[in-house]
């Protein structure tokens, strides 16, 4: 896939990326409205940035977009593994390489000449957010169906513990998105590549 005639990102990746972006936007903003109905901590999300209007509306959005998130995520994972892209793009990956690239990035010396190559920080960040999305889905399953998934429920420390896992996994996802958007702003060519493939 280093051939210049091939797109930087294959079409399936671009499609699943943008569908995922929409699904995450709906899940997070409706999730904030659901959180507001019974805040775990001493704050609420501003109503203007939540989706659904009231608890029932937010739940409808949340439990509709979950299908989009899960189906799209599954397609992404299958394509990524089956095409060999996962092994090829994300590995090898070592903590030392991540530290070195992070340092280089902070000094403004990390090259983005070839968008086909993920640097070690990108590799770690993208793998992290995939794992985090998986954790969101699994903890969400426990909140939705705590009786039907007893093993998962116990692994996450019970229903109340799963609520906290779900919340902090959401926080990690939002933190990733913020850094991700900042990086896109710094290297706008990456946005074009994710839209056009070139």
């Amino acid at each position: 896939m280093t051939d210049a005639t091939h797109p930087i990102h294959p079409a399936w990746l671009r499609a699943t990326h943008w569908i995922n972006a929409l699904a995450v936007l709906i899940m997070v903003t409706s999730g904030w409205r659901i959180y507001n109905a019974s805040p775990l901590f001493g704050f609420q999300f501003a109503k203007g940035i939540t989706l659904g209007g009231w608890l029932g509306g937010a739940i409808m959005w949340h439990f509709a977009a979950m299908w989009l998130l899960a189906a799209n995520g599954l397609i992404y994972l299958v394509c990524n593994v089956a095409s060999g892209r996962l092994a090829h793009k994300f590995f090898p990956l070592s903590p030392r390489a991540v530290a070195a690239d992070l340092l280089a990035a902070l000094r403004g010396r990390l090259s983005h000449a070839d968008l086909r190559q993920y640097n070690a920080v990108q590799r770690a960040a993208y793998l992290f957010v995939v794992a985090d999305a998986l954790l969101l889905v699994l903890s969400g399953l426990v909140l939705w169906k705590s009786v039907q998934f007893p093993l998962l429920r116990e692994l996450l420390g019970g229903y109340e513990s799963a609520r906290r896992v779900h919340f902090f996994a959401m926080t990690a996802m939002v933190a990733f998105v913020m850094v991700h958007l900042a990086m896109v702003a710094l290297v706008p060519r990456t946005l074009l590549a994710m839209i056009r493939g070139r």
């Binding site: 659901i34 939540t50 029932g56 509306g57 409808m60 439990f63 169906k145 009786v147 007893p150 229903y159």
Partner: protein, 258 residues
């Protein structure tokens, strides 16, 4: 059945503020879905609705009914909800309804009759002593509210599947509906009705069910969210016609179970 457990927290400043915030939020909760599907301030900012509200509502309702079917399919009637030791009971257990605690209905024990209707062989109305004379069992389980919070309580009463077979209910029917003294109504699927932990409860924490928890009778299902657990039940009917529910008709998911 979704109001916050306002009595759960002790008397402190933060709790009072929280309670006030919830009161303010009450009217918003009662809005019907059609007024509720914009992406908050974002649509105001852009000056247009992001989605056409009516069609979005229809699609979301369809997905919600699809989710009912998925949940019915996922539901394993043999899986039991976790049970807990007495030491883990939440004290005081939160009061919870679509109205305030001072509006809890007063049901007269002496004149109380549980009416049965629909696909039931023996439709005679039950008095409270008759219900209390049936074999009783109890359970300590977690009540999970649609809002997210949960609390552990101890309920005792008649196993609902025993009651249904005693009155000759048609257990091949699809729905069981409930009408309550507080004008609440809801309905459940037959597999949940027949679940071993589904109880027609007459007691809470070893004592007669107090009015605030649903005197004289509440249907307790640890496999369902709080709003599916009707209190002050006056009539039970078995039917194949979808009966809906107080919150369900406003947009809450009908299956509403875990």
């Amino acid at each position: 059945m979704i109001k916050k457990p306002t009595r759960m927290t002790g008397i402190d400043g933060a709790a009072v503020v929280k309670q006030a915030l919830r009161r303010l939020e009450q009217p918003a909760r009662r809005l019907f879905l059609r007024n509720s599907l914009t992406l908050g301030g974002l649509s105001l900012l852009s000056g247009c609705a992001i989605v056409d509200e009516d069609s979005a509502e229809q699609v979301l309702m369809k997905v919600s009914r699809f989710n009912d079917r998925v949940q019915g399919w996922l539901f394993d009637p043999k899986l039991l909800a976790p049970t807990y030791p007495e030491s883990m009971i939440t004290r005081p257990f939160p009061f919870n309804a679509y109205y305030d605690e001072d509006e809890v209905p007063e049901v007269d024990a002496a004149s109380y009759r549980l009416e049965l209707g629909g696909l039931v062989a023996d439709k005679h109305a039950w008095t409270l002593p008759e219900l209390q004379a049936l074999p009783q069992t109890d359970q300590i389980t977690r009540h999970i509210c649609v809002e997210g919070w949960s609390a552990i309580g101890k309920w005792g009463g008649v196993r609902f599947s025993d009651f249904l077979s005693r009155v000759g209910a048609d257990t091949s029917a699809r729905y069981i509906g409930f009408k309550c003294a507080d004008d609440y109504y809801t309905s459940i699927d037959m597999p949940t009705a027949l679940h071993a932990q589904t109880l027609l409860t007459l007691t809470y924490d070893g004592r007669q069910l107090p009015p605030r928890y649903g005197f004289p009778m509440k249907l307790r299902m640890p496999t369902k969210l709080g709003y599916k657990n009707p209190k002050h039940i006056q009539a039970i009917f078995v039917t194949n016609t979808y009966p809906g529910g107080y919150w369900e008709d406003q947009g809450y998911n009908w299956f509403g179970g875990s």
